[in-house]
């Protein structure tokens, strides 16, 4: 550190080395040891620091109570916000990488589920998806009643 830089730093940070950025303090002490005349510069800077010590703050009576008693709005988040926080946790909480992966898999699972309800049928017009065989055998309540009534009629004959 040059004496010029030392003087600039006194102008900026004052005459108390402990108030200077930590990264500069050691260099400043070395510089001061090499150039003792800089001690005068430091003393002049310290005069303003001493004057600033007179600037004391009020007691701020009841400050915490006021802040704790203020009416805080509800922090209940919307569904999208909650989903976003669940997927990408906020700083300070452990990151769960499996969550976005699980979400990305959801469309695939849905596709498999829906696809399982259909089967590929080769028709004259080409390939087409039709509801699977088991599903086509299922009868609605109305259809079942219709067949039961036919059966009763046949027996009475």
């Amino acid at each position: 550190m040059t004496p010029e830089r030392f003087t600039q730093l006194v102008d900026s940070y004052g005459g108390e080395l402990l108030r200077w950025p930590e990264s500069l303090q050691s260099e400043a002490r070395d510089c001061l040891a090499e150039s003792p005349q800089l001690g005068t510069v430091l003393q002049q800077g310290a005069q303003l620091d001493q004057a600033l010590e007179y600037w004391t703050v009020p007691a701020f009576a009841g400050l915490e109570a006021r802040l704790l008693q203020q009416n805080l709005p509800d922090r209940q988040k919307g569904l999208i916000d909650r989903m976003a926080v669940w997927l990408i946790p906020l700083s300070g909480t452990p990151v769960s990488w499996w969550r976005p992966a699980a979400l990305a898999c959801l469309p695939l699972l849905m596709g498999l589920l829906i696809g399982g309800q259909f089967e590929l049928i080769d028709t004259e017009q080409g390939l087409s998806f039709e509801p699977s065989f088991e599903q086509s055998l299922e009868l609605s309540l109305e259809e079942e009643l219709y067949f039961i009534s036919l059966s009763d009629y046949a027996e009475s004959l």
């Binding site: 303003l48 600033l52 926080v85």
Partner: protein, 190 residues
């Protein structure tokens, strides 16, 4: 003891105990900062209240990787102080320094208090950014990088602001001290 990161994560989930703990840790330094910026205790408390309300509502916006919680809160409080000072200036032709000068003349009898008022007036008369730089660096125990981040400037620019602020302040205080010394030689300090 929970870290600021853990407390903020809890606040995001609406934990009021975590909020109370953050208030206990950070409210007083912020109030001191706001008071030094505005020179009025009631307004300073309003600023702190608004700062913590924003913390409660926007906790998810704080990124611990980017800045310490204290730096983030000081940045919010600083912006609110600047807004408040501009409103004050717009609503009145009187400069804040003049208001403080009035107080000064009323309190001249008490030496220490008078010195404090002189100091307050001299700092209040500094340009906004110089004042912010000086208060944040000298009184708030923040590093030069943190102050540069709050003011959104480089460290070199911060050093330049500080240098000008200290030079002006020293000149003003010396002038005031010399004026006081004409009536009371014991008051000469700079």
């Amino acid at each position: 003891m929970l870290t600021d990161e853990q407390l903020m994560a809890a606040i995001v989930n609406g934990d009021r105990h975590a909020y109370a703990e953050v208030v206990r840790r950070h409210a007083r330094p912020l109030a001191a900062f706001a008071w030094r910026m505005l020179g009025n205790e009631s307004e300073a408390q309003d600023i702190v209240q608004e700062t913590f309300l924003r913390l409660w509502m926007q906790a998810q916006r704080w990124d611990s990787q980017k800045s310490a919680l204290s730096t983030w809160l000081h940045r919010i409080a600083h912006n609110l102080c600047i807004d408040s000072l501009r409103k004050l200036r717009a609503s009145s032709d009187d400069d804040i320094a003049e208001l403080l000068d009035d107080r000064e003349s009323a309190e001249q009898e008490v030496s220490r208090e008078s010195r404090q008022v002189q100091l307050h007036a001299a700092i209040a008369a500094l340009p906004e950014r110089q004042r912010s730089a000086l208060i944040l660096t000298h009184f708030q125990s923040l590093s030069n990088k943190e102050v540069a981040e709050i003011l959104d400037i480089s460290v070199n620019a911060l050093e330049s602001l500080l240098s000008r602020a200290r030079r002006t302040l020293k000149h003003r205080l010396t002038t005031t001290e010399l004026a006081s010394a004409q009536t009371d030689p014991r008051s000469l300090r700079l």
